[in-house]
């Protein structure tokens, strides 16, 4: 699945998007965050406060207990500050 990052999540991880293949036991957005954070120092820094991170699956906001199976694109970003 494709993962996208925005704002300081993107800056901390050092890339705007990537294609990942998480293990089958990673079922929710929250579990995916933990798995991503465990990969390297940059990812650990980006996800150091998991509760602050917002997520969207296929362009729809989701909570961290949302199931990721079937997702084409998952995005992680800070709270929105537009307008």
């Amino acid at each position: 699945m494709k993962v996208k990052y925005f704002a300081w999540v993107r800056e901390r991880i050092g890339r705007a998007e990537e294609t990942i293949e998480p293990p089958a036991d990673i079922r929710t957005v929250g579990e995916l965050i933990d798995w991503l954070a465990g990969r390297d120092e940059a990812s650990a820094y980006a996800f150091e406060k998991p509760k602050v991170i917002r997520a969207a699956i296929d362009h729809a906001h989701v909570k961290q207990d949302a199931v990721i199976s079937g997702a084409r694109e998952i995005a992680f970003f800070p709270p929105m500050t537009g307008g």
């Binding site: 996208k4 925005f6 704002a7 300081w8 969207a56 362009h59 729809a60 906001h61 995005a75 970003f77 800070p78 709270p79 929105m80 500050t81 537009g82 307008g83």
Partner: protein, 155 residues
């Protein structure tokens, strides 16, 4: 006559007068037009800023704004609705965002514009970074924007 929502995300500035004129063009059923323009201020919390940079989530931002525009049109009797959000680097005094609502009656136009602005401030996938003498930093979300957005939630 059905309302049409115009939604644009763009680098370029917009012309408020042109957008207001466009919403009323050829119609005589509009009694009220409300415009909201959000402008880049020259300072944040007393500290001068040089510019803002607006980032967005392409694809999701348009879809989400459209969904909220449609919600606004279902909640209030609108004749027209325009939302324009700029992205990229914006300097103090420049426009950031525009919402224009048109209706037969003023309350609908005011409420729909406020609803959309509260949404854009709290939940649309845009992020602001500010440049100042101290460098560049991401603006933090404000609780009172979430509170403003929450007042529109149907209970």
């Amino acid at each position: 006559m059905t309302a049409i929502a115009t939604i644009r995300i763009q680098d370029a500035d917009f012309d408020i007068a042109q957008e207001i004129a466009a919403i009323g063009k050829g119609r005589t059923d509009i009694g009220a037009v409300v415009s909201f323009s959000g402008i880049c201020r020259g300072s944040e919390n007393g500290e001068p800023i040089a510019a803002l940079t607006l980032e967005h989530y392409p694809g999701m931002a348009e879809a989400e704004i459209r969904r909220h525009a449609e919600e606004a049109m279902s909640r209030w009797p609108l004749s027209g609705l325009t939302v324009i959000h700029r992205v990229g680097r914006i300097t103090p005094g420049e426009n950031i965002v525009l919402v224009v609502t048109a209706s037969q009656h003023r309350q609908a136009a005011f409420q729909a514009a406020e609803f959309l602005m509260d949404y854009l401030k709290s939940s649309a996938p845009f992020w602001k970074r500010e440049e100042s003498a101290r460098g560049s930093s991401w603006i933090e979300a404000r609780d009172h924007d979430d509170a403003a957005a929450a007042r529109w939630t149907k209970s």
